[in-house]
Every structure is written in structure tokens, then in C-alpha cells.
């Protein structure tokens, strides 16, 4: 069976449902599907393989302990896991206690947006938009998202006015939206 077909058969929602009933093989399948993404996000933020590995463990153990936190109708599982990884990594980076409970995270990426052949297309669009942005805008967006810096902290680092930073960040997000919904 092709990967695309097996994805259809064994959807993320079915796997999460199996995890809810204590199915360890379903947990292994989810790990195999999304551990690269979760790990990559943590590594990008922390720049430390050991710490990224700890975040990876933490994110998947949270899913195992509380699979009900994932609501398939509100977004895709990989996006949800990756955003949790991002939040946990930033908390770790800034030595904060976790501020966001898993249940509170809403990621409204279309549920099927990151499957099969559409995955590489989506990735290409995202990377294309980021590469096409003025460097100052891309940096502001990445500092905010991957480092969790406030606009005040970014302004301090770059010497740009506060209002300019805010506007660049919003415009960057809107540019991503436009590219990915085309």
C-alpha cells in the first residue's frame, strides 16, 4: 500500500483515538510520522541537540498522557505538535515555566494541509515567501516566532522603531497566509 493510501486508512484522528485507549503501537506510529518535525522546531530554537531531544520527549509524553487535548476538528496534528514544541522550547530557552496548557493551543491550519504531495508544495511556498521577504522583515518574524522575543526586544536588537517592527511582523504573517491559500 502506498504511503498516501495508508495515510488515508490510518488517519491521525484514528491514531489519536487509539492512543486514548492506551494503544502503544499507535503512539509509535505518530512518533514515526512527526518526530522529525517536532525535533527540528525545538532544535531550530534551542540550537542544542540534547535540549531538543528533551523537548521532543516532553511533547510526545504530553500527547500520551493527555491525548484528549488534541481536537482534530480544530487543526492538523503535525501543526499542533510543532506549535507545542515551539512553545516548550521558547519557555526552556527563556527559563520560564510552561505558560500554555496543551488544551489551549488552537492551530487553524487546514487538517489535510500537511499530507502527502501537498506537504512539499506547502513547504516550498513557506520557504519561498520567507526567502522573498526583505531581510529586516524576515528577521523580525523569525526572532518573534523562533526566539519568542517581544517587539520591544527586537527593536532594541535591531535599532528599528517599535511600530515598524509590529507592522513588519503582521505583514509577514499575512504574506504567508496569502501564499498558502492561493
Amino acid at each position: 500500500m502506498s504511503r498516501a493510501a495508508s495515510d488515508l486508512v490510518s488517519t491521525d484522528a484514528i491514531l489519536v483515538s487509539a492512543i486514548r485507549s492506551g494503544d502503544q503501537t499507535a503512539m509509535a506510529e505518530i512518533y514515526d510520522r512527526y518526530s522529525n518535525l517536532v525535533y527540528s522546531v525545538a532544535l531550530r530554537i534551542l540550537g542544542d541537540t540534547g535540549a531538543a531531544e528533551d523537548i521532543l520527549q516532553d511533547v510526545f509524553m504530553q500527547l500520551w498522557r493527555n491525548p484528549h487535548a488534541f481536537d482534530a476538528s480544530r487543526g492538523s496534528l503535525p501543526a499542533w505538535l510543532a506549535v507545542i514544541s515551539r512553545n516548550r522550547a521558547i519557555d526552556f530557552f527563556r527559563k520560564r515555566r510552561p505558560e500554555t496548557e496543551m488544551e489551549e493551543i488552537v492551530v487553524s491550519v487546514e487538517p489535510d494541509m500537511v499530507r502527502g504531495a501537498e506537504w512539499s508544495l506547502l513547504l516550498g511556498k513557506i520557504r519561498g515567501v520567507l526567502a522573498g521577504m526583505p531581510e529586516s522583515q524576515r528577521l523580525a518574524l523569525e526572532m518573534s516566532f523562533f526566539e519568542g522575543l517581544t517587539h520591544g526586544e527586537i527593536a532594541q536588537k535591531t535599532g528599528e522603531p517599535l511600530g515598524t517592527i509590529k507592522t513588519r511582523i503582521r505583514a509577514g504573517l499575512i504574506a504567508l497566509r496569502k501564499a498558502c491559500t492561493r
Partner: protein
């Protein structure tokens, strides 16, 4: 500048989780009153989530998988014993199969009782002749020795979702019961298909599982005398489709 524009940039920062201090409170106060801005905040969160995909490419060490699965197994042993672990002397497969049979048995008994009550009610009331015939056909199909039985299970994961189709070709009567079906978003529905020995799949009813994952299709409109190769289930738009628009998520085998 209208009130929404005033908060537009701050909404983006809030979506990223980086709006702090005195600037956060007025935005949150506005969000409590403004559905449009709440919607925009959700969209911006989705936009921000796209950024996570730009970070993909690294691969965790193999030991991470072993570490995670070992931790999962340890926690599974510590957890309060759910039914599957309470009967540890059975293998998981045996338990799953037995549980599925038991669940189906109770579903069938419940359905049978319901149908018998319905027949009795109709017999003693002023029900129309077609209704009586329909109910009797159902009872006949459920108990007929020459009725075909199909068991539908997930094609990949452990057999959580399961369906049982009882089909009597000579009268075109079908009873289908499903258990452990995952919930669907509101815009989707499960559609059952009769796959004939030759020809295109025939729509055999729509169902949406209840909170316990149980669903049924009872006596849909089907042509009489069509020999079934098997049955299948697809996920379709909520009004159903005349022909499957996606790959089957479950396929039948003769039981």
C-alpha cells in the same frame, strides 16, 4: 483608523505569544467584545503555525524513539488498569477480537430487540402494510441462514473501528452496525458502499457515529438481487456522494 485597525498589529503579536505587559490588556478587552478580531486572531495563529514547517529537516537520534516508547510502556504499567490491561492473561489480539464480538453481539441484540418491539407495535397499531413488511424483512434478514455477513475493520491500525454488514441479496435488505468509529468534523459523514461483483459501488447509506462511536444503517434503499463482493466505507461531504470521492477507510471481508 477604525477600532479594528488600531489593534491589527497587536493581534499578530498576541498570536505569536509575544505581546506582554500593559499592551496586552486593552487588546484582550477588545477581543471579548469583537468577534471579527477573535476570528482574525485565530487566522493569525494559523499563519504563525505555518512557520513551524520552515524548520523541518533535522532527524532525532534513534535512541529518542526507544527512550519515548520505554517511557510510554512504563506509564502504561503504572496507569489505573483499563479493561485491556485488567485481562492481561489474554493476548491483546484475542482481547480485541473478543471485545469486538461482544460489542457487536450486544449491538445486534439491542437492534434485534428494537426491531421486534417495532414489529409488535406495528402489528397492534394502525401501521401501514409497507411498514410491517419492511420490519418483517429486517427480522428475516437478521436471522436468515443464507444472509451474507461482512466484517469491516480498519486496514492498518489495531482493530478499533469495526463494522458488521448483514445483507440479504434476494430482498435487497441490509443492516449495518459500526462501533468505535472516530468522530468526524461537522462537514463530513461516513458513507457505506455496496461493492457489487461487477459494476460501480452502490451507495448504501450514510451514518454519523454517536458519542460512543456507534453508528448504524438500517435498510437503505438498495436494488434487489445484487450480489455483493464486499462493503466499504468512505468519508464523504455531509450530504453524501453518488460515487466515492475518497479511498475507503474500511473494507469488508466475509465473516
Amino acid at each position: 483608523m477604525n477600532v479594528h485597525e488600531q489593534f491589527a498589529d497587536d493581534l499578530a503579536l498576541l498570536a505569536l505569544g509575544t505581546l506582554e505587559g500593559a499592551e496586552r490588556a486593552p487588546v484582550e478587552a477588545h477581543l471579548r467584545e469583537c468577534a471579527a478580531c477573535r476570528g482574525e486572531l485565530e487566522r493569525l495563529r494559523g499563519d504563525a503555525a505555518l512557520l513551524v514547517f520552515s524548520a523541518s529537516g533535522a532527524r532525532p537520534p534513534a535512541r529518542s524513539r526507544q527512550r519515548l516508547l520505554a517511557a510510554v510502556a512504563r506509564e502504561a504499567h503504572r496507569a489505573p488498569a483499563p479493561p485491556v490491561r485488567k485481562w492481561a492473561w489474554w493476548s491483546a489480539l484475542q482481547w480485541a477480537a473478543a471485545a469486538a464480538v461482544l460489542a457487536m453481539f450486544f449491538l445486534l441484540v439491542r437492534q434485534n430487540d428494537r426491531l421486534k418491539r417495532r414489529v409488535n407495535q406495528l402489528a397492534t397499531s394502525s401501521a401501514s402494510e409497507p411498514q410491517l413488511i419492511q420490519a418483517r424483512q429486517l427480522i428475516t434478514a437478521l436471522s436468515a441462514s443464507d444472509a451474507d455477513h461482512f466484517v469491516l475493520v480498519s486496514r492498518k491500525t489495531s482493530p478499533q473501528p469495526q463494522g458488521r454488514a448483514i445483507y440479504l441479496a434476494r430482498s435487497g435488505t441490509l443492516v449495518f452496525l459500526a462501533s468505535n468509529m472516530p468522530a468526524l468534523p461537522p462537514e463530513k459523514i461516513y458513507e457505506l458502499w455496496l461493492i457489487p461483483v461487477s459494476g460501480a459501488p452502490i451507495p448504501a447509506g450514510l451514518f454519523r457515529p454517536d458519542a460512543e462511536g456507534t453508528g448504524s444503517v438500517v435498510q437503505p434503499t438498495l436494488p434487489v438481487g445484487v450480489e455483493a463482493k464486499t462493503f466499504a466505507i468512505t468519508v464523504e461531504p455531509k450530504k453524501g456522494s453518488p460515487a466515492p470521492t475518497s479511498q475507503p477507510i474500511m473494507l469488508g471481508t466475509r465473516g
